[in-house]
Subunit: 182 residues, 2 copies
DNA sequence: CATGCAGTTCAAAACGGCTTGAACTATATG
DNA sequence: CATATAGTTCAAGCCGTTTTGAACTGCATG
């Protein structure tokens, strides 16, 4: 919804060890997740951890994804808070390692559920309130009230799309995920 | 998906003639439309014209919505291009007047259809390409390929939500709109 | 064809979100 | 306890988007 002229970014940067298709997949995840109002880099961090299926240190994430120290720290904090990344101690290493915990989808579902639904609920409430006020005033012409009602339909369609996303992620993906669970 | 701490904005500004519930409805529309990646003020301009169901001049829009002259000009240009606002000549008035033409929904549907779908198609293609590349390399462990497959599910769910939004806007709202057509 | 108003354009400013990096805190180790 | 390294914080900077406003264009009118 912003610019969408992604850097062609073939072989983005020097230091990364991963296969080139890896960064393709990682960036793709970053893009969808950004679509849903999260930060692109939250998606990228999760995607790397998930794809590697290994516990990595902040320093590694920093290097592989070309992020700053502070940035990694904050991104991880968010992902941990949402429960999609777990912090673990590795046998004989002083530093923390991070692992992808659950499917990103679950997180997106939870967050969208509270954040977006309340947003759209608020919009609907405003529209309903406007209609109530309009109806209370006897001077308001009838068609005008109908027009507000029609506006509410825009909000309703938005709500429906959101709820389908949530349902889809619960069933389709949930099932898929379980089936493939490693 | 940005800030969502809308200005409380009771009785926003001095000049507006409209009932206070009017601006409530107008801002609500601005909010949903912004959610779908349009400009908040595009939604507000359309909403005012639609609600008033009257042809208004740029100067009126400027005053009622507290926008700048240049801003109104550009907003209207967009809305005209999308076919949701029509420019008409009023009997004996030198200046143009603008009317809300179709339902905003139709416009959103069209634009989302081309803009968002191609966006998500691109994400899916990237993921598919990554998987193809991964599969081509015999060294890639099987579970890693499965993980890419699971990532594709995120994109699929997004696509499904989008398509439901489009369908909903076509049927539910379309029907509703016709029924109420003034 | 001069005047004035409607409408357009676009560079600059404002704005908002994201990232950076330096200072700081916490923790492990000798 | 001193030191080193990992991790956190947050003000400042960066960057993309939106809005502004002044200059400009076009058009109608006397």
């Amino acid at each position: 919804m912003k610019g969408y002229l992604w850097a062609p970014s073939a072989a983005t940067q020097a230091k990364s060890e991963g296969a080139s298709w890896e960064s393709l997949a990682i960036d793709a995840v970053g893009n969808v997740i950004e679509f849903w109002g999260f930060k692109r880099n939250q998606g990228r961090v999760w995607a790397l951890l998930y794809l590697r299926d290994a516990a990595m240190t902040a320093a590694e994430l920093e290097r592989e994804l070309a992020l700053s120290k502070g940035g990694v720290s904050m991104l991880i904090r968010d992902l941990e808070r949402w429960g999609v990344v777990l912090r673990v101690r590795q046998p004989n290493d002083a530093s923390w390692h991070y692992r992808a915990e659950t499917d990103l989808m679950q997180m997106a579902r939870r967050v969208i559920e509270e954040r977006e639904f309340s947003f759209i609920a608020r919009v609907r409430a405003d529209l309903a309130e406007a209609r109530r006020l309009a109806e209370a005033d006897p001077a308001t012409p009838k068609p005008k009230i109908d027009r507000i009602r029609k506006m509410e339909a825009v909000a309703e369609a938005t709500e429906k799309a959101l709820s389908v996303f949530l349902k889809t992620s619960r069933f389709d993906v949930g099932a898929m995920f379980d089936r493939f669970r490693s």
